[in-house]
């Protein structure tokens, strides 16, 4: 079974296959959804937010809002107060995110940028990364309809929905959401693919191996790794 443990051991070092640095340290991560209307990327990002009640700064450009909707509080839950900023240009989105990353009181800064605007280049992502690491506020960039160009993001994910887990109460109904996650570039982790299952009630994310990387563990499937942070 190929899996990743994102939990820190008491020495502050991440164990599992990633052993270079503290992988739970806040930094810039990019997520590329498969299609614009696929909410798997947002779902995965929300499951990785810190478990505090600090506010989130959520910056959205106009196209992202029109094509993929706005974050809906009733579904996300009210653990974090959300400060929404609706902008029209990618430049403004990056400016607002950078300003937000100066504020240590935030739980996270989330940006949604549509397509490949020229301003979102290596320098811009580098600035976001360094600010995020300096303020130790995690920063997530959701990039729809975008090419995976050069970027300084420490972790770059592709996320898409998969058929959900069987619903224990109703065979006709969708169960817990499952996502295909593909970490295709990372500074501290070994890239790989996972099928993740998210349990909203207990707020747990289970990473299981992607089928194309070999069969799932021959056992009863109970061995699951939990991600923290």
């Amino acid at each position: 079974m190929r899996s990743l443990r994102l939990q820190k051991n008491p020495n502050g070092q991440a164990d599992g296959r990633a052993h270079q640095t503290d992988v739970a340290a806040p930094t810039l991560s990019e997520v590329f959804p498969d299609t614009a209307q696929d909410a798997a990327a947002v779902g995965y990002m929300l499951s990785r937010l810190p478990k505090t009640d600090a506010p989130i700064l959520w910056v959205q450009d106009r196209l992202s809002r029109r094509e993929s909707g706005k974050p809906y509080l009733a579904g996300i839950g009210t653990q974090h107060p959300i400060i929404m900023v609706d902008l029209s240009r990618a430049t403004d989105v990056l400016w607002a995110m950078e300003d937000g990353l100066r504020c240590r009181a935030l739980a996270a800064v989330i940006g949604e940028v549509w397509g490949d605007p020229p301003v979102l280049d290596f320098t811009a992502t580098k600035r976001l990364t360094m600010r995020s690491e300096a303020a130790s506020v995690p920063c997530w960039l959701i990039r729809r309809a975008a090419a995976t160009n050069l970027s300084a993001a420490r972790n770059r994910w592709r996320a898409s929905s998969r058929p959900s887990a069987p619903n224990p109460h109703d065979a006709q109904a969708p169960g817990l959401p499952r996502w295909s996650l593909d970490l295709f570039r990372s500074r501290h982790l070994k890239p790989g693919s996972w099928v993740a299952e998210y349990d909203r009630a207990s707020d747990r994310l289970y990473y299981d191996a992607a089928p194309q990387h070999g069969t799932l563990d021959g056992g009863d499937g109970t061995q699951r790794d939990r991600a923290a942070g």
């Binding site: 209307q37 909410a39 947002v42 579904g75």
Partner: protein, 488 residues
């Protein structure tokens, strides 16, 4: 009407109305209406019967009171000590200031002239006490001046209504046959005391009489005008860009603010151009502050919007929304509180992108999904606890539901297949329906109910679909289908 610049001519009867217990009543009348027999306090329906050509406007009582408060400060031109008296009077303590205008009679003439230039009708009187001045101004001769020892006999001829009593007491005195203040003075003091020993001030003729005659003191508590926090820089040569002067101006302003223990919520930057015009910009903060660096940073992106014309030689910076701001130590180690930084972040974002773009979603009491979420200002105080939704809801919601074409399996069930954004989705699994009825107290008549389904297609995309209406529900044609959101 005066406010709209459509003041009626004096010969047209006009009344101002306010809401009474049983429908609108007359609040005030003009001279023409008074001549026709319309009195304040009468009901509008009755007065219309008396005088069918009467014009009626609603009174702006709060606006009148604010205007009177401003007039209190404006009246400081004659004396340093003034206060508003009820809803229709001013009390000026002119002790020692009348000789500057050539005596009391000349001062009254000057006041009447100045007030009439403002478009106000006034009735003025000078008296040694508040109560005597009140009575003389309303019931006495025009511009009466009352000396210290003339008070008893000048007041004696006035009706008892000049004693500032309430309606019930006035009625009682009238029934007792006491029509003038002099008649009340002639009644033995002991019997008046016995009758009114427990009455409050506004129902006690004896206490009011003592106040008017100066036997009981009634001091005038003057109010202070709020100081104007204002700094300016005069320049020897006209310049085009105020940026280099801003830090200094902000520091001077904040020094003034901290001197008075106050902070501000708004800053107005005004430049006075050499061609005689004025241009100004305003920035606002979400929390009261007096930090020069923060205030200066708010101008960073706004300064470009000021129109310099051919250059300007005077810059002023004025603080608005001034409130008391105490020095607070936030934490023991001298570091500052996190909230402060958050407030500053919101300020910076609102200053750059406008206050409407920076919002905070909150949950409302509604089952209709788009109404279940409202928006408030980013740092507004929550006045009610957040309600959790018991049902499963999507994490993304479209502002406008998008219509899809569907292929039914059974008419009342979920679609077998639908086309959304020119892509075909085959429904593999679904839950639902969850029926949400329209809110009849908000929706227009004929709004259709919605049946929500959570459907999952073969690729695993989980979508929130709804059918608007039912077959044969008599509210339009066949039901239509919409995509409203996406689940994780």
């Amino acid at each position: 009407m005066e406010r709209n610049g459509t003041a009626p001519p004096d010969d047209v009867p006009v009344v101002l109305a306010r809401d009474g217990q049983h429908g609108p009543v007359v609040h005030a009348t003009n001279r023409a209406a008074r001549i026709l027999g319309v009195n304040a306090g009468a009901r509008i329906v009755d007065t219309k019967a008396i005088c069918p050509e009467l014009q009626i406007e609603y009174a702006d009582i709060g606006g009148d009171r604010r205007a009177l408060d401003n007039l209190v400060l404006w009246a400081r031109r004659w004396c340093p000590w003034s206060v508003r008296d009820g809803d229709d009077g001013l009390i000026l303590d002119t002790t020692g200031s009348d000789h500057l205008m050539g005596g009391e009679a000349a001062m009254l003439r000057e006041m009447e002239t100045q007030l009439s230039l403002l478009g106000l009708t006034s009735r003025l009187a000078v008296a040694p006490t508040w109560g005597a001045a009140w009575a003389l101004a309303r019931f006495g001769p025009v511009r009466s001046v009352c000396g210290l020892d003339e008070t008893p006999w000048k007041l004696g001829a006035l009706p008892v209504a000049g004693l500032r009593l309430n309606e019930e007491t006035l009625l009682l005195l009238r029934r007792l046959g006491l029509k003038t203040i002099g008649a009340v003075m002639d009644v033995p003091r002991l019997s008046l005391t016995r009758r009114f020993v427990k009455a409050a001030l506004h129902a006690n003729p004896l206490m009011r009489l003592d106040q008017a005659l100066g036997k009981t003191p009634e001091p005038v508590a003057s109010i202070d005008a709020p100081p104007r926090i204002h700094v300016q820089t005069k320049l020897p040569e006209p310049i085009q860009d105020p940026t280099s002067h801003l830090p200094e101006l902000c520091e001077d302003l904040c020094e003034q603010l901290s001197h008075t223990g106050q902070g501000c919520r708004q800053l107005h930057l005004t430049v006075y151009k050499t061609d005689g015009e004025v241009s100004s910009i305003t920035v606002a903060t979400s929390a009261t502050t007096r930090d020069p660096n923060h205030l200066h940073a708010l101008f960073r992106d706004k300064v470009e919007k000021i129109n310099p014309g051919f250059g300007f030689d005077l810059i002023t910076l004025t603080a608005g929304g001034v409130e008391p701001l105490q020095l607070v130590q936030n934490s023991l180690d001298g570091g500052s509180d996190d909230d402060l930084h958050l407030a500053r972040l919101v300020d910076r974002l609102s200053a750059r992108f406008g206050a409407k773009t920076v919002t905070r979603p909150v949950l409302n009491q509604s089952h209709i999904p788009e109404r279940a979420e409202g928006q408030i200002a980013a740092l507004a105080v929550m006045d009610r606890p957040q309600i959790a939704t018991p049902k499963e809801r999507p994490i993304r919601l479209f502002d406008h539901p998008e219509e899809v074409r569907v292929l039914y399996a059974v008419p009342e069930g979920p679609p077998a297949q639908f086309i959304w954004r020119r892509q075909t989705y085959k429904v593999a699994r679904y839950t639902g329906p969850e029926r949400i009825a329209p809110e009849w107290w908000k929706d227009r008549a004929g709004a259709r109910l919605r049946d929500y389904f959570k459907v999952e297609d073969a690729q695993g995309r989980r979508i929130w679909l709804y059918r608007e209406g039912l077959f044969e529900d008599g509210r339009g044609g066949d039901p239509r289908w919409f995509v409203h959101g996406c689940f994780a």
